[in-house]
């Protein structure tokens, strides 16, 4: 692959194949599916943040009108500990099962305790009220400080901290510790002309997808089961649900619906095992749909974090040493993304002397779920705030300061391996030259700069390419299309096969139709599944060459694929017209049967993604309200297959990050009840809060992908937190270190300025 590639369709902006269905309301999402005889399920959730379950009585509920089945934790098998595969690091099946339905103890307000299936939702809800649960309430642990306190109540009495040099001798709420380091920290700080040292805090936030979780489960008397659901990964739902229910993977078929947003939050299961067990007990299909309140109380969230950061700088702005102590809330079960957080925190920079400590801490909140670049936004909020403060104090332009420390190809990342070609420097240079950065600021406006980073992942993907008898193309793959990926797959297939984009249809298939494919997540779909589609298309090309050679009675190495057709190689003495895909499709029956290409792979070479964001913000000095006046997202995409959807990723991630920075947070009562479990008071940005989000796509091709693609889905949410905070700090004239930058907090800071 090279930069000089001459693309025919890649890089164009055609209409997505599923577009008309989605603008006309025809597309079928999670709650849109139904089956004859279907029951409606509902979940009884814990009214306490932390309590022992002493008894559960379900007789009255089971006897209620219309009720066909009731399940509790006692109906589920005990699931042994074991790592969940598929790239969702830190997960354990036993914890997953414990989160799906409580056994013995409830660990957060909203934790599922029982579920009911009835003929109507009203009947199911009425029956929930008849389930008698006797609780012994326990004190709720709601903050990192409270969780790590000497005599903190234990959320998991058996939890021994892992990752310590000396094995833990007593249980605690500290699930694990990770440490990284290099060089001589003391010497590095001794060399510093400036040391920035602060504590940075970020709140618990939710992914905020608009479509609540929903599924329909149907269990047969032969123990074969089917699930229709909205998910980022049907195969992951299959393996997780099978494990929670103690069933063989092959007995479960998962059919993904269209998905109304996920952002990482739909990479796990909540309702699916409940629906299937209710179906097994009732002998009827069962539909379960969460309310928005349930989505807030029982799914997501992203970890709150406290990061103590110390960075040393020489007079000319070189980082001499850096130290971070990072505590992330895991929620009620281990598994916050503090691991990747520790790897991201200083990833954009060359730092010889550093120490990083990460802590995964249990609190009585919902089990943290992945949210776009899990762990990175919190980490880089801290670092990029400190970089901004350093630039200010050293009198160095903030982009220049970053350029002086930026990692480049060949540098070892602080977490070890060497970087290949990366776009950090190109993004920084583009930012410095961007009109947003060069134009004068309006009165009172603060301007913030921040860098974003995410690893991007590869993982397993499969694809099939079917050539129809008229030469049109059907691509079969297994990644739910969460943001236009069918269009990207069709573009890559069309490019490889040399056919028009419009002749390619892309099918997102179920777990019995598509080959195994990991989640739509980790910024991997266009990269890894795209690679599988390209490979499967190349498989078709090889078959076409072979068949053309047979037709021409020559050897395969006498022919070549060029411009969408098989040609005799130059100089080969064959009298023949080139054979196009369409020609060969028509002759398929006579040349060996249908043309079917396939590929399955474990993708390598996911190039890391870097970004730079610029934000102009104006603080109302009397009320503390922040207005984002301008925002620019610049990011290295490797190669933008469909630039509009790449821009869309940048814009959407920017706005989620703006929300995280400004107004989003879980508000808890002292008893551990979330007080703002709805879109009215959990304030995601609305259209009138925002300016247009300007974008600039940088293309430093990724050598690990045939067309140079690197993932773009997650990096966009990383930089906005600090970009906004730096702009607000500049406008307010006071350094803001705790998110969200809600009006009361900003006003309080203004008072102290």
């Amino acid at each position: 692959m090279s930069e000089a590639m001459d693309f025919k369709v890649i890089g164009t902006r055609p209409i997505r194949p599923d577009g008309v269905d989605k603008v006309t309301g025809r597309a079928s999402f999670g709650a849109d599916f139904s089956l004859p005889g279907m029951l409606e399920g509902a979940v009884l959730r814990s009214p306490h943040a932390h309590a022992r379950i002493k008894s559960i009585k379900t007789d009255a509920a089971l006897a209620a009108s219309g009720v066909k089945a009731v399940v509790t934790g006692a109906d589920f098998p005990q699931v042994a500990a074991g790592a969940i595969e598929g790239g969702e690091g830190g997960g354990d099946f036993a914890d997953l099962a414990g989160n799906v339905i409580a056994r013995g103890k409830v660990r957060y307000h909203g934790h599922a305790v029982a579920a009911v299936a009835a003929q109507s939702r009203a009947q199911a809800l009425a029956a929930l009220a008849l389930i008698e649960v006797e609780y012994e309430t326990l004190p709720a642990v709601l903050s990192l400080d409270a969780a790590l306190a000497e005599s903190a109540p234990l959320i998991d009495e058996g939890l021994m901290t892992s990752g310590l040099a000396e094995p833990a001798t007593a249980p605690s709420n500290l699930a694990s510790v990770i440490e990284m380091g290099n060089g001589d920290l003391d010497a590095g700080f001794a060399d510093a002309a400036l040391i920035v040292e602060r504590r940075y805090q970020t709140p618990t936030v939710h992914q905020g997808y608009i479509e609540p979780h929903a599924c329909v489960g149907r269990w047969g008397q032969d123990d074969q089961a089917m699930l229709w659901c909205c998910t980022q990964g049907a195969f992951d739902v299959r393996s997780m649900t099978a494990k929670v229910l103690g069933q063989p993977v092959g007995s479960l078929k998962v059919i993904p619906s269209e998905i109304g947003g996920g952002f990482g939050g739909k990479t796990t299961v909540y309702l699916e095992p409940l629906a299937l067990l209710l179906s097994k007990k009732s002998g009827r299909p069962v539909r379960m749909v969460m309310t928005r309140e349930e989505v807030f109380r029982a799914t997501g969230p992203a970890s709150a974090a406290t990061i103590d950061l110390r960075m040393g700088f020489s007079q000319d702005g070189k980082i001499t040493a850096a130290e971070a102590t990072m505590a992330y809330e895991a929620g009620a079960f281990p598994g916050s993304p503090v691991g990747p957080g520790t790897m991201c925190v200083f990833a954009p920079y060359r730092i010889a002397n550093f120490r990083i400590k990460g802590m995964d801490v249990l609190v009585n909140k919902p089990k943290a779920a992945a949210y776009r670049a899990p762990g990175a936004p919190q980490a880089l909020f801290a670092t990029e705030s400190a970089m901004d403060e350093a630039a200010d104090k050293l009198g160095i332009d903030p982009i220049e300061l970053r350029l002086r420390n930026a990692v480049e190809e060949g540098d070892s990342a602080i977490y070890g391996p060497k970087f290949g070609p990366i776009g950090l420097r190109a993004c920084l240079e583009a930012a410095a030259a961007h009109p947003h950065y060069t134009k004068a600021k309006d009165a009172g406006v603060g301007r913030g700069v921040a860098v974003g980073f995410w690893f991007n992942v590869g993982l397993q993907s499969s694809a099939e390419v079917h050539i129809n008898e008229d030469g049109t193309v059907t691509v079969i793959e297994g990644n739910p299309d969460i943001g236009g990926s069918r269009a990207s797959m069709a573009l890559m297939a069309a490019e490889t096969l040399g056919v028009p984009y419009e002749s390619v249809r892309v099918v997102v298939a179920d777990t019995e139709t598509a080959g195994f494919t990991n989640v739509t997540g980790g910024s991997r779909v266009t990269f890894a599944t795209g690679m599988a589609v390209v490979e499967a298309s190349k498989d078709i090309i090889a078959q076409c060459c072979s068949r053309a050679a047979s037709l021409w009675s020559t050897d395969e190495d006498m022919v070549e694929w060029r411009d969408g057709a098989v040609h005799p190689r130059p100089g080969v003495n064959v009298e023949a017209k080139p054979l196009s895909l369409k020609d060969l499709a028509g002759k398929a029956g006579r040349t060996g049967g249908p043309l079917l290409g396939k590929a399955s792979l474990n993708a390598r070479g996911a190039g890391p993604g870097f970004s730079v964001n610029l934000c102009d913000a104006l603080v109302d000095q009397e009320t503390g309200q922040v207005q984002v006046k301008a925002f620019t997202a610049i990011q290295d995409a490797g190669k933008a297959i469909h630039p509009s959807y790449v821009e869309g990723q940048l814009q959407g991630g920017a706005v989620q990050g703006i929300g995280w920075a400004l107004n989003e947070e879980y508000v808890y009562s002292p008893e551990g009840v979330m007080e703002n479990a709805g879109f009215l008071d959990y304030r995601i940005p609305v259209a009138s809060d925002l300016p247009m989000i300007d974008t600039q796509i940088i293309e430093v091709p990724n050598p690990g992908h045939p067309y140079g693609v690197r993932g773009v889905g997650e990096t966009p949410i990383v930089a906005p937190l600090a970009a906004v905070a730096n702009a607000v700090s500049a406008s307010a004239g006071v350094r803001m270190t705790e998110l969200p930058l809600s009006p009361p907090r900003v006003l309080e800071a203004l008072d102290q300025a």
Partner: protein, 159 residues
């Protein structure tokens, strides 16, 4: 006791029996099979269930189905003709103004109402009018552009 309702949906006479507690959204989706209107919140905060009732824009999750007796309901399913998409729909596709697409039906219904009231809205007017249509994927940028472009096309200007 069920309520018997006769009403009009997308210009067609319909009748149904429903529980008095059923919302218009419930009936559209479960009784009439019109599932283009989505329930994102059930409390009128997200706009994914937007419909018009006697020409007024509304959240169908906050209307009792019984209230629609003798009225006229317009949903996303009635926006395109058999021959063509509405300009808003075409421009949303052209501008990539949707990612997951679950908020899109509500946005089309609301924006269509806006352009019927004000064929030449400013960007600010579009943003404020659509503030009740939450979108978590796009950052709104391409949605707003699509609405402005569709408005221009509908006014006969080159978009």
């Amino acid at each position: 006791m069920k309520v018997h309702v006769q009403t009009e949906v997308n210009g067609e006479a319909v009748e149904f029996l429903c529980d008095p507690t059923a919302t218009l959204l419930d009936v559209l989706r479960d009784n009439l099979g019109l599932r283009g209107s989505k329930e994102g919140c059930g409390t009128g905060d997200c706009g994914a269930c937007s419909v018009e009732l006697d020409g007024a824009l509304a959240c169908s999750c906050l209307i009792l189905a019984a209230e629609t007796q003798g009225r006229s309901v317009a949903t996303i399913e009635g926006v395109a003709t058999p021959e063509a998409l509405h300009p808003l729909q075409s421009h949303l596709l052209k501008s990539a103004g949707l990612q997951c697409g679950v908020c899109t039906p509500g946005i089309v219904v609301a924006a269509k109402h806006l352009l019927e009231e004000d064929p030449n809205p400013t960007e600010e007017a579009v943003r404020y009018f659509l503030a009740g249509n939450l979108c978590r994927c796009t950052g709104y940028d391409k949605i707003i552009r699509a609405v402005l472009d569709a408005a221009a096309e509908m006014r006969g200007e080159a978009a």
